[in-house]
Amino acid sequence: MMCNIFLCILQVMRRNLLRFIRVREFAPEAEFSRPTPSFILPNIICSYCNDVRDLDLGRDPSLLTQEWRCTVAQCGHPYDREKMENALLQIVRQRERLYHLQDLVCVKCHMVKDSHLTEQCKCSGPFKCLEDASEFYSKMQVFYKIAVQQNFQLLRECISWILEIR
């Protein structure tokens, strides 16, 4: 009952907001589309002008298509490809390692598993990974796309192994 009231209020709010930006409620532009996962590579330093910035490799359209260059107006120097590839490779390696070190939590009581040999929680619930394989693979796909687009061969090979792409 309460859920329905909230849904109605939300619908009304959505309609009003769309009206502000002059979009019809059921127009195709009003439909929600899941954005591509974002991945930010922090602290990229340009060797030319020493500019430091974070790059959103998942969502920035210019980074997805072209060669990576420093975006400072007077500079425009391309970033060192080897350093970029290595930065990405280290992140991939770290994430892969973390997958195998992650904790398991009980599905029922959400307690972290402490013992090693038990197959069930004390509350008799089964365990699940904090980050399961499919989530892990979808995060890795972002890196794979980047490796293919920017032609990072070593990175591509390593991620292909992780994702078991033949």
Binding site: L101, S115, L154, E157
Partner: protein
């Protein structure tokens, strides 16, 4: 040497454990149906065969199965040991001196001295427990009798004895003691499960292939063993830590190759283990193109020695710190990007996983590159007993042979792919284990296994030459 190489387990690039078989007789058993892992079913009965490859990233139950399988393997082995097995006929004399292992949950209603077996786990910070398939019980590790000559006063009621080896978290131990009213298990004696002879293990598993190269009939095994004994000219040269970016190392390597080029019979196999670069694969190292060209240079260097190029094989085993997808074990072969140029010069060079296994006629050889000694010494919870030996390498070998596992360290120190723990298993005990470690070169025979460490070629300029026909290890330096 007339050989037929059979690479098992599916597509070369993506197998985690590549097993290579050196077979003389091509008519011997085919390995078409090669099973990837053989796990143990929960009820301590039949081993379960999986066909096809298991995913690299396991689900939640795979993590528990990893520990359970390791435990069950040792529990099964222990139950066959005469000292620990229950006597078939209940007589007066049989009850005396019988050390039957009881499940830990039985301790809650049984009294008196009992034998238990469990994994040492740190379930709470600073508190250690022995955990088995049924329950866990807290133990006190601080009161351990270290058999030094200098200790003149020992309180036998609160101290207990341990056997040789590194007792670290995650190792499986057998302990004798009594559960106190406060819930603590007072340990009197503590040790690793006894080693099982290779022949006994083989007779129990009766033809199942745990090594990964197919099973042979006893007739074929005898023939192979015969051929193995006659293969006196075969020699393996093992080098570990071959830094290709270090000029000094490359010069010394050149000297080694020159030396072997001029001998009457060239070595049949050169095993070159990582690290292949002086800096490990981390954020500061990024010159992969350089590394690739260095592999190419190595290929050209080997190609300068025609006899070696023609009659020897070159095997490359990467270390977890070499460039690759991860440092999780087992680790896949070196990426093709790095090895393409070398492969052009030496087309029959082999790039194997870490750990990897070789079968030489009937001899099983396991190769593993990891700086284990340093890590085991650091994660050891009790100072090793010096009653039998004070050689750290001997303790390490004793640990891995008793635990039937190449790396019984906690997963936080050395992560292992949950579905592929069996790749590091040493059951049945192989004939030879080549442990690449950066500590000094050593060799040690224990429980029927010949184990040696060639030492770091780049730091100490040491390597090893191994003759499989008589298990002879020659530790050399240049």
């Amino acid at each position: 040497m007339n050989v037929e190489k059979v690479l098992a387990n599916g597509p070369e690039d993506y197998t985690i454990v590549q097993t290579e078989i050196v077979k003389f007789d091509a008519a011997a058993a085919q390995v078409s149906e090669l099973l990837f892992p053989i796990g143990l079913a929960a009820e301590l009965q039949q081993p379960v065969k999986y066909t096809g490859a298991l995913p690299i990233h396991g689900n939640a139950s795979a993590k528990a199965t990893l520990y359970r399988d390791r435990f069950e393997l040792l529990a099964q082995r222990l139950s066959r040991h005469p000292h620990f097995s229950k006597p078939a006929f209940e007589t007066e004399s049989s009850n005396f001196g019988c050390c039957e292992i009881v499940p830990i949950q039985n301790l809650s209603w049984q009294t008196g001295s009992r034998w238990i077996m469990g994994v040492i786990s740190q379930l709470e910070d600073g508190h250690f427990y022995l955990e088995d398939l049924t329950a866990s019980v807290e133990i006190d590790l601080s009161r351990c009798l270290r058999l030094h000559c200098s200790e003149s006063v020992c309180f036998f009621d609160i101290y207990y004895k341990i056997t040789t080896g590194y007792f670290s978290e995650n190792t499986i131990v057998v302990a004798e003691g009594e559960k106190l009213p406060n819930g603590l298990f007072k340990v009197n004696t503590c040790g690793f499960p006894p080693v099982e002879n290779r022949e006994e293990s083989l007779s129990f598993i009766s033809g199942l292939d745990f090594f990964g190269c197919g099973s042979f009939s006893s007739e074929e095994t005898r023939k192979l063993a015969d051929l193995e004994r006659k293969a006196v000219n075969d020699m393996f040269v093992v080098l570990s830590d071959v830094w290709l970016d270090d000029d000094d190392t490359m010069e010394k390597l050149k000297e080694v190759l020159e030396g072997y080029e001029s001998v009457e019979v060239v070595p049949s196999l050169f095993i070159l283990m990582g690290n292949f670069c002086s800096s490990p694969c981390n954020l500061s190292f990024h010159s992969f193109a350089n590394l690739r060209s260095q592999f190419g240079k190595l290929g050209k260097m080997i190609a300068e020695y025609p006899r070696l190029q023609e009659h020897s094989r070159f095997l490359f085993v990467p270390s977890p710190d070499d460039a690759g997808p991860s440092s999780v074990l087992p680790r896949c072969a070196l990426p093709k990007y790095l090895t393409e140029e070398l492969q052009k010069e030496i087309p029959n060079a082999l790039f194997m996983s870490n750990p990897c296994r070789i079968k030489f006629y009937s001899q099983e050889i396991v190769i593993f590159r990891r700086d284990l000694l340093h890590r085991m010494r650091r994660s050891c919870l009790i100072t090793p007993s010096t009653a039998e030996t004070s050689d750290p390498f001997a303790h390490l070998v004793a640990t891995i042979v008793h635990q039937t596992h190449l790396c019984p360290l906690p997963l936080t120190i050395q992560p292992i792919s949950w579905n592929h723990d069996h790749c590091l298993s040493l059951y049945p005990t192989p004939h030879t284990i080549i442990l690449g470690d950066r500590s000094e070169q050593k060799t040690f025979k224990y429980g029927g296994v010949t184990c040696f460490n060639p030492g770091s070629f780049s730091s100490d300029h040491t390597f090893a030459a191994y003759r499989p026909c008589n298990h002879e290890v020659e530790l050399s330096a240049i």
